[in-house]
């Protein structure tokens, strides 16, 4: 059983503020969903390897950057808080 305290902890990890009544509702719903997905525990043996994905890194080398300023205006326009071309955030330490 998932408790409302568990939900509180998860919501804190996920950085989502929840109202009390939603914590109760979520505990019940997530219990229901876990009840359904718990069936995977009965599948196969423990020794099966995970599926492998043939994926490789395709990032370009960190050189020959595009001309400075090419994308600045479009990106800065999306900043929720700014000062000039600077992104404004609250102090962290």
């Amino acid at each position: 059983m998932i408790s409302t305290q568990d939900i509180e902890k998860l919501a804190e990890l996920a950085r989502i503020e929840l109202k009390e009544e939603e914590k109760v509702k979520l505990a019940k719903e997530i219990d229901g969903i876990l009840g359904y997905i718990d069936q995977i525990k009965t599948a196969g043996s423990k020794d099966i390897a995970r599926a492998k994905e043939p994926v490789r890194n395709i990032f370009r080398e960190d050189k020959n950057p595009h001309e400075s300023g090419t994308h600045t205006d479009a990106l800065v326009a999306e900043f929720p808080r700014k000062e000039g071309n600077y992104l404004k955030v609250k102090k962290i330490l």
Binding site: A14, R15, I40, I48, E78, L87
Partner: protein
């Protein structure tokens, strides 16, 4: 000439455009006029772009120059999670309500090159999480075949836009059935290509190991036209493949592909009318000369459970980027942590919150082995089930959905019941292979003819098999 939107296909529209029966501007205006009549009620579009006429004029120039392609001047709708530079892409979420795309997705860039006319962005379940479009922050979309019912989801607006003659085709995304299920509910053809077939660059990620863009069209031929242009490697997506990535194995059938049906997986939970229609479809395929075989996929019953571990796990990490700092909604708190907490509480709807929390749970210390790692093991079992099946058969067939379109408001208070709507579609996303839903008739429910669909699944890279059987089934 008068444009008959009911019977128009991409192929036919192209022929008319080239013969100058009508111009791209006239064609776009015909669609805009339908949208302005119907969208207020249907809510298929969240926004009609303000440059539609300009795009159509450009297309007309391209046609006049004698260099059009089959897609030049074709009016297409986009799901609200596919980026088009300069336009809002909100994922039907409040958290991205004012986010303007700063670049084109690869899919949009490829269609731009063809001279496609983008009509607008369509409604969806928030962040593509849902099977009914009821999770949109901007209201539900209605099913044009019965407005008391859902169009399916999450690409519900994309499907409804085509079904109401508000676009000739649309692009959706499919993480667990989000193109095929609404295609089935709205009487359209919907494709989930092989994982990696269409670049994911510039679509807003939900479950990165499952997501694929897919076209929604009126015919299989139209779907193939779009897929051929959209597919291929991309320097911006390391998972993108091309037509030669997977070897094409010889057919098992002598003349036509052998179709396998996992009957043991279909003995419960399916609407009677859906099953009757499915049997009729099987009969039709037999009469077309296809051999049918009952096959066993021992682990397929675990598919939906595997999906509801892997998908939320990936959701919880993908959606961590929406924090109110660099773009999108920003809510003020006393400090940075409170900014995050409040932004995400105000910005995300209930289903999104539920899946982020669930994903955080299945990835958390102590549970990752029991859930996330175990689900990845069962994924490998499922892949091996299909590999074995494809040694005997060439295609796998099931209904696309266990029921026809359900009522608006139904299933909204029971997440597990809602998730079961995807029982037949999630497997293709987990296994990776392509799957195509084609219309297979209708079911008469409360005086309304509700569309039904069947779904063909093929080995990796075998979209060609899906298109050929689909065309034959629909008599194209």
């Amino acid at each position: 000439m008068k444009i008959d939107l009911n019977t128009l296909t991409i192929q036919k529209a192209h022929e008319h455009l080239v013969k100058k029966d009508f111009s791209a501007v006239e064609l776009a205006e015909a669609y805009l006029s339908e949208i302005s009549k119907k969208n207020k009620d249907m809510n298929a579009y969240l926004e009609v772009y303000d440059d539609v006429k300009m795009q159509a004029e450009e297309a007309d120039k391209k046609i006049a120059s004698g260099k059009p392609t089959v897609l030049t001047g074709i009016p297409i709708a986009l799901k609200d999670n596919i980026l088009r530079k300069g336009n809002i892409a909100s994922c039907a979420s409040k958290i991205l309500a004012n986010y303007h795309a700063t670049y084109d997705s690869t899919a949009v860039a490829k269609l731009k090159e063809q001279g496609v006319v983008f009509l607008g962005r369509t409604n969806m379940d928030e962040f593509a999480m849902g099977s009914s479009t009821q999770n949109s922050a901007y209201g539900v979309t209605k099913n044009p075949h019965d407005t008391s019912r859902v169009p399916g989801g999450s690409s519900g607006g994309a499907a409804a836009s085509v079904a109401m003659n508000g676009a000739l085709a649309s692009l959706g995304t499919d993480t667990g059935g989000s193109v095929r299920q609404p295609a089935s509910f709205c009487g359209l053809v919907g494709l989930k290509p092989t994982y990696g077939s269409i670049s994911r660059h510039g679509i807003i990620a939900m479950g990165s190991s499952l997501d694929q863009i897919g076209p929604l069209t009126k015919t299989v031929t139209d779907n193939e036209i779009l897929w051929k242009i959209l597919q291929g490697k991309d320097r911006y997506d390391g998972t993108a493949i091309d037509e030669n990535t997977y070897p094409k194995l010889p057919l098992k059938g002598k003349k036509k592909p052998i179709i396998g049906i996992p009957y043991s997986f279909m003995d419960q939970g399916i609407d009677k009318e859906v099953m009757k229609n499915f049997e009729e479809s099987v009969k039709k395929l037999k009469s077309l000369g296809y051999e049918i075989e009952d096959i066993s996929l021992p682990n397929i019953g675990y598919s939906l459970a595997v999906y509801y571990v892997l998908m939320p796990a990936e959701v919880s990490s993908n959606l961590a980027r929406f924090d109110g700092v660099k773009y999108g909604l920003h809510a003020e708190g006393k400090n940075l942590i409170e900014d995050y907490l409040k932004t995400r509480a105000q910005g995300f709807g209930p289903e999104t919150r539920r899946r982020v929390i669930l994903g955080t749970y299945v990835l958390s210390a102590g549970y990752a082995d029991a859930y996330y790692n175990k689900a990845n093991q069962v994924k490998a079992l499922l892949q091996s089930d299909f590999e074995k099946a494809y040694k005997k058969v060439d295609l796998v067939l099931t209904p696309t959905t266990p029921t026809p379109a359900f009522k608006i408001g139904e299933k909204t208070d029971d997440p597990v019941q809602m998730y079961l709507a995807d029982i037949f579609t999630v497997t293709a996303n987990i296994v990776g292979g392509p799957a195509l839903s084609v219309p297979s008739g209708t079911s008469l429910v409360e005086g309304k003819k509700l569309p039904l669909g069947i779904q063909f699944t093929a080995p990796n890279g075998r979209e060609d098999l899906l298109f050929s059987v689909g065309k034959e089934f629909l008599g194209e």
